[in-house]
Symmetry: C2
Subunit: 208 residues, 2 copies
DNA sequence: ATCACAACTTTACAGTGTAAAGATGGGGTC
DNA sequence: GACCCCATCTTTACACTGTAAAGTTGTGAT
């Protein structure tokens, strides 16, 4: 577990962990391969034995981020579902989880949706991780539409829902919108209010 | 107007124009000061007589982008308003203009909302330009709410509308959503459909 | 005619990603 | 147990980045 000499043992995981720490501490622009290598106690180019290039390392970070995001969304929705008797798929919970992750892991979120990581098509695990995340929301939207007998397209509704929470996340992170300008107590309240402005979300707000 | 020798004349505008061209041709990562300088026929550091640093140049580009965006939104909404008799503020037109700009000027749009340009607070003209753009949408949303007698908060509704179109724009640009997955003919159709899922937009869809 | 000063060039430096080639030592084979 | 292969790691080097510092140039004001 401690540092080895020439053959490190599992340098790959070590590098990912170092990168994760540096990313959280110094943001995307501060994440350089030399810093990662130094933090892992290894030479600057040792990385290339385990990753094709920087973008591949970032893709791994991003994929982990998507898994974390998926987990947070699911757990947040689960909590609220239990509290409210699980009458309906908890879209608001998923949205809250999404925004909470984005604002609590700004740099990682930026990386996940930035262009530094290269084309996700080149990294199947990345694409799968983000697909799972999107599926969580798409399924909930589809279930709610069906439940309320809506004729809206599930695909379009899911796209709209995702776009809304994603837009909220990025604009909040960029300091372009905030609870303050809407005279709300917290950004979470803003998210809940904004989600209520989606027709299908509002429709299911009152179970009766 | 042609190239001068030592004292260029208006190197500042020249640099901005060069940067604009390189940005459009090679994207944000391809936009280096040396390329800009070379394209303007000037030494690598001549730039620093007119800009504090790279971020200040990018801020000017971004501000111009916001003005262009504002213009496109207004013109698009105007076109549709005339066509439809201008019964209501054309939210869908503003949204279409927004997404059209984003997808038609990917690199510039990325720059406008990216972090390469530094804190907008340091560049008043940037902040003003983006505020004008946001105001266009906020005003339209407020007018529509009032017209439909809604009790919803105009600030929250405007935030939701902006978030939706912004989310759509970025996710489309990142290749994460597209008309294809929703079985629609074009991304513009997708935008229109998605906007219709906002409660206040739908309410005003039928003027009767 | 001179001078001051803004606009420009040259040079230099620290930092980046990464290609190429050399060093090292652990695992499999005899 | 001796051997060697080869993945793993180090060293060196290169092109590129933004930008600081100091030198040059020419214009407009005195």
């Amino acid at each position: 577990m401690a540092k080895k000499q020439y053959h490190h043992g599992n340098l790959r995981d070590s590098l990912v962990a170092s990168a994760h720490g540096i990313l959280a501490a110094e943001g995307v622009p501060g994440l350089s391969l030399r810093k990662v290598a130094a933090h892992a106690g290894v030479s600057a180019t040792a990385l290339y034995s385990h990753f094709k290039d920087k973008r591949e390392l970032l893709a791994v970070l991003a994929a982990q981020g998507f898994e974390q995001l998926t987990g947070l969304m699911a757990s947040e929705a689960g909590k609220r579902a239990i509290r409210d008797g699980a009458a309906a798929p908890d879209l608001a919970g998923l949205a809250l989880g999404y925004v909470r992750f984005a604002t609590g892991n700004k740099a990682l979120f930026q990386l996940m949706f930035g262009r530094e990581t290269g084309n996700p098509k080149d990294y199947p695990y990345l694409q799968e991780a983000s697909a799972r995340c999107y599926g969580l929301m798409a399924d909930a939207v589809a279930a709610r539409l069906e439940q309320s007998g809506s004729a809206d397209s599930p695909a379009v509704a899911a796209t709209a829902a995702w776009s809304l929470v994603h837009g909220l996340s990025t604009l909040i992170n960029d300091g372009r919108i905030s609870a303050g300008t809407c005279e709300l107590a917290s950004n979470e309240a803003l998210v809940l209010q904004a989600c209520r402005m989606l027709t299908f979300a509002e429709a299911a707000q009152e179970p009766g």
